[in-house]
Symmetry: C2
Subunit: 703 residues, 2 copies
């Protein structure tokens, strides 16, 4: 393959700064991309980096983790057991809008004459600030300063400040602070009718999503309550304004479910600023009436007003100081490392944003930064993010694993649908049910079961927290081990085989004895055995409780042990490598060198049947296995495998580069290591994949 070049962003748009990312001019052609790069989130609430004016905008959105609408998946050709319920994260009403009018002329950035412009994401302060000087059509000069942050301390809160100052001449100034329900404002039937062959994009929900149940003013606050039409989840939203103006001003409010506003009018004299603080609180639930959520929002707002924005900003900085204290990675390269350092910090900051307050939920593939993958939880969290969190933020790691446990019931049901024992965790989900409509690259990725087991082991080992096994860990391990024992079988020669699975590489599906899957399943089985035995010996009471809870018997455990002991791991003695699956090496080799660059990613340009019958990989899962299970391969095996798979790897998956880089470093291939490292670090900032407008690749950041 002609390796695609990438460049880190040009300095005249994003100057080098190790702790800040700044945009120094307005680039209307990259709106959606900038919205992703400047997105703010705390893991519960996320707002993309829309301009305060609300327009122009690329893909404006705000999200609450786990707040989703459901819809029936209609299969073009149905079959028994295919996923039935689609789940899509809801674009919740947008509270970031603060439209400015001076002399009744709107500030509209693409056409405005700007004397100064700077938008800064500060990764230590946790804020997005903007400062500009606008020369109005009447020739007056106005300084506009704004700042927003999604609170790491008070996770329901989005806080904004907006300041307008006439620099030379007086003028009437109007600020229209709005709340816009964008999900329903852009009817999604339309979107669905535009046929797109890119399965990575989310499917839009058709029809009205949010039914308004509450809309009223209470003092200075706008209060809104909603319920989703199908999933029946509830949402509360409260918005409060504090207006500070030395000059005369008046405030008027108008409320409705899809478009509410508080309009501030003031006669502004030069040198005397109009200052508006806008606080928005969001609450979501599966069960609580929206009216009650609205009341909770009011309490959050009252407390925030009482504390004051300065205090919240100080706490924001404290949280980030704690984060950086444990998580910072510093690099030194010859020839200038500032840009690289900035990119690494930005990636780490995304991890913080995606996870810090993700309590009782998972981490969506794109965090809360964009619509792609529909806000679903995949295996990414367990394999790419949890190891990082286990070292740096054990509280969050534990919460995420607990959240998986909360989905165990649904996973048991799914296993039953698949005629299997134990639990089958869904490939993609929000509510615990399988939402992958394409089983070959979805349900067949049973490896997610083992990925979860891997994350548990990693967490327990790193933290020494065996209490977690007692609490919920062992139960997950038992149920996942059961699935492997039932899915696989002993061949007449005694080996344990696992057929009909898809590994992480989605360019080959439904194969026999995928090496990644079998290795990880072995880990899962062995760790389940070890954990059960440990309980039995060290915590007999807890062991008895577990046995009762899951109906465990000793034969089963022995079965797992046996299966793991004779697990078949494909190996090609001639080449000294592990074939990705039992038939991989028999396939024709895809000629990447002769594939035109515009044919990548392959999945958008070739029928699955074409891709599947060649040796070509989206991400090298043997290489991933060597990274995760480093001690099960010696350095020569690693080198041979890496050298075999590297030329077959398109890197069409965003999960590929980081792992290729680590393993390349391990085997001493510095050039490949650095190239992949740059590619992984720059994935989003340089828009390597060309789709950053749909959201941040959180797993890559983790990698």
């Amino acid at each position: 393959m002609p390796k695609r070049d990438f460049v880190l962003p040009p300095e005249h748009i994003y100057p080098i700064d190790e702790w800040r990312l700044a945009e120094v001019r307005v680039s209307p052609e990259h709106l959606a991309r900038a919205e992703t790069i400047f997105a703010l989130s705390n893991g519960f609430l996320g707002v993309r980096g829309m301009f305060e004016e609300g327009r122009p905008s690329g893909a404006p959105a705000s999200y609450i983790n786990g707040f989703h609408e459901t819809w029936p998946i209609v299969h073009a050709e149905d079959a028994y057991g295919l996923a039935q319920t689609g789940q899509t994260i809801v674009n919740v009403p947008d509270a970031t809008v603060l439209k400015l009018y001076v002399d009744d002329e709107p500030l509209y950035l693409p056409s405005a004459r700007l004397k100064e412009y700077r938008r800064v994401l500060d990764m230590r302060a946790g804020t997005l600030t903007r400062e500009l000087v606008w020369s109005t059509p009447a020739g007056k000069h106005v300084r506009v300063r704004s700042c927003r942050f999604v609170s790491l301390e008070s996770r329901h809160l989005l806080a904004m400040t907006f300041e307008v100052e006439m620099l030379d001449r007086a003028a009437p100034v109007v600020v229209s602070s709005e709340v816009i329900n964008r999900q329903d404002a852009r009817p999604s039937n339309e979107a669905n009718n535009q046929r797109s062959a890119d399965p990575r994009l989310g499917r839009r929900v058709a029809g009205r999503v949010l039914e308004c149940q509450v809309s009223r003013e209470a003092g200075d606050a706008l209060l809104l309550g909603y319920r989703t039409t199908h999933s029946g989840m509830t949402l509360g939203l409260g918005v409060h304004h504090i207006v500070e103006a030395t000059d005369d001003h008046r405030v008027e409010a108008a409320i409705s479910g899809d478009h509410s506003k508080v309009v501030v009018e003031a006669q502004c004299e030069p040198g005397r600023a109009l200052h508006i603080t806008k606080l928005a609180a969001y609450q979501a639930s599966r069960a609580v009436p929206s009216e009650e959520l609205v009341e909770r929002c009011m309490r959050t707002l009252r407390r925030s007003v009482h504390d004051g924005v300065e205090s919240l900003l100080a706490r924001q900085q404290e949280h980030l100081a704690r984060f950086w204290d444990r998580a910072d990675v510093q690099v030194r390269f010859s020839g200038g490392s500032g840009r690289m350092q900035q990119a690494i910090r930005w990636n780490l900051f995304q991890l913080c944003q995606a996870s810090w307050r993700a309590e009782g939920t998972g981490i969506p593939a794109k965090g809360l930064t964009g619509p792609a993958y529909e806000g679903h939880y995949f295996w990414d969290t367990e394999v790419y993010v949890l190891p990082f969190l286990s070292y740096t933020q054990p509280r969050i790691a534990r919460n995420l694993l607990r959240f998986r446990h909360s989905m165990l019931g649904a996973a048991r049901t799914r296993a039953h649908e698949l005629a299997l024992s134990g639990a089958a965790f869904p490939w993609r989900t929000i509510n615990g049910e399988e939402a992958s409509a394409y089983y070959a690259a979805g349900t067949a990725q049973y490896h997610i079961n083992a990925d979860i087991a891997y994350a548990i082991r990693r967490y327990v080992d790193v933290r020494g927290d065996r209490g977690f096994l007692v609490e919920v860990g062992a139960e997950i391990l038992v149920e996942t081990a059961r699935l492997w024992a039932d899915l696989g079988f002993h061949c007449p020669e005694g080996h344990f085989h696992i057929h009909g699975v898809t590994g992480p590489d989605e360019y080959t599906t439904v194969v026999n004895d995928n090496v990644y899957t079998n290795l990880m399943a072995r880990l899962n089985l062995n760790y389940a055995v070890a954990s059960v035995r440990w309980l039995q010996q060290e915590r007999p009471a807890d062991y008895i409780a577990l046995v009762r809870e899951v109906g465990l018997d000793e034969d089963e455990v022995e079965q797992w042990e046996r299966a793991a002991a004779v697990m078949y791991i494909a190996h090609d003695d001639k080449r000294g490598i592990n074939p990705q699956d039992d038939n991989f090496l028999e396939k024709e080799v895809w000629d990447l060198a002769r594939t035109p660059p515009e044919d990548f990613p392959l999945l958008l340009h070739y029928h699955p049947l074409v891709i599947y019958r060649y040796q070509v990989v989206k991400q090298a899962d043997v290489v991933l296995a060597m990274y995760l299970l480093g001690n099960e391969f010696n350095i020569d095996e690693k080198r041979r495998n890496f050298e075999y798979y590297e030329p077959l790897t398109t890197g069409d998956s965003s999960l590929s580069a980081c792992v290729q880089s680590i393993v390349a470093a391990e085997i001493g291939d510095e050039e490949a290591a650095m190239s992949h490292f740059r590619s992984a670090v720059a994935m989003d900032l340089a828009d390597v994949a060309g789709n950053v407008s749909d959201g941040v690749h959180i797993a890559t950041s983790g990698g």
Copy 2:
């Protein structure tokens, strides 16, 4: 598997008669089934066996071969190259309805007091007749005689006679002869909302299908013209009535696009019959305006009135005499063979009905007897029906192969979408485009290419008609051979492998080196080579024309020859059998003996991933290959293969039993042969598969 029992229909409903199938009582619980069994068709026009009264009805429908509506296939998760255009045969307006009222009381069979009742399908006359005596609520006795046939002579014509005679007392009699547009009368959104996991059932088209363009009376005729909303096909329908009554009567007509009627009122005296002849003519087209089609219908009607029903009936019998003369199969079993003979004749009759006047179209999987498979053409015709026709009705066989040739352009386009050379015939289609929404059991069945080549060879060999090769056969052979040459590859050891295909057995998909596929591809390649060489030597001018037409060069032909010569045919030396594919024998064996009977067919009770990872087959395609390519196996191979696959075969496919039977007979397993033979012959009459209400299994009849 507990082999499911089947019984031929009970004699009190269907008495034994070698040439007739009679229903001697009304069975409201089996309406839809009887509608299939009593369906009439000539290959162009088909009407199911609805009662004249129009109600009660099971699944009333009339079809014109190839007359279809299109709709966009929406994939739950789209991918490059998936089928985009759904095609569904249209239920055309039903002209069979003749409602009877005596003393203003309707005849409604389920509740009517019937003194006599007999409905007879006569397989030599080609008619469906009914005779009954009704004791009305007022105690009067009425004899009602009706007869209908779909003309084998005049393929656009459906003819009906209806006779009412008061037996004891006079009464006012009303006959309402109607034309009902049923496709739109039962809105199909509703049907689509009822989630069904049975992929064999057709998907209903949503919204209005037939737009009425013509609706007028002309003399005694109702004239109707329609256009389908999306596919833009046109339909003309003319209905004419001849009323003969000695008593006073009047006739009134009312016309509309969805429901037209001609009402005949008469005061009937005992012994003086009211006799109505109803003639309906259908025309369909892709291009001709419906107005013109209506005019053609009028001409058909005029001619039919002129000829008279008696003459048409005589011609009908002549056609059938010609059919039976060549096609009849007589059996003799000890212990009474009448029922078996009747069932065999009924199956042969279905073949006649499905093919006799199928000119310029294919043969749908269910003929024109039901909605299942949406009126699509599959491989069935080439493998199961064409051999029979090549021997008995060469004109029809040749027409069907010509029809395939007319789809060659679309098949070339499809090959290009699949990044392949040559032509890829669609797995299922009406208009030539791939309509299978599930590629693993659709597009991956590339073997349809070779099945067509097989049918060509069979036809040419049986008829000695090499002119057919010159006409279109060679062109098809070249383009299909090209696909195989490109799809497969030579491995380092030199063998030619074909990966990523699905054989006829849909319980294993997307495998490497499916034996059926490779054997048939070899035949295709070899026959293409032989045909091209023959042309080159014997018909040089035609050869040059072909070379120009398809841009053939000699290298290609050598390539095909080489590929065929080293075609890899999987063989297990230890067992002495052919594994269905390269991995088949490594899989776990499905325990059919312990599978509960209610779990069949497996596809409705197990996730595809479950079925695919076991040794279990829907139809044994190795056995099919042994039947089609009998000379490439010796008797021991046949026996070993048969004995290996027979116990793994669920027979969930209706195509299975006939082939199993033939091969069992060949290897001398008389018991298995007879059991499968009975099962195949009785497939529809005894409703072995439980789905005969959706239509006749034409391929089984052919088998």
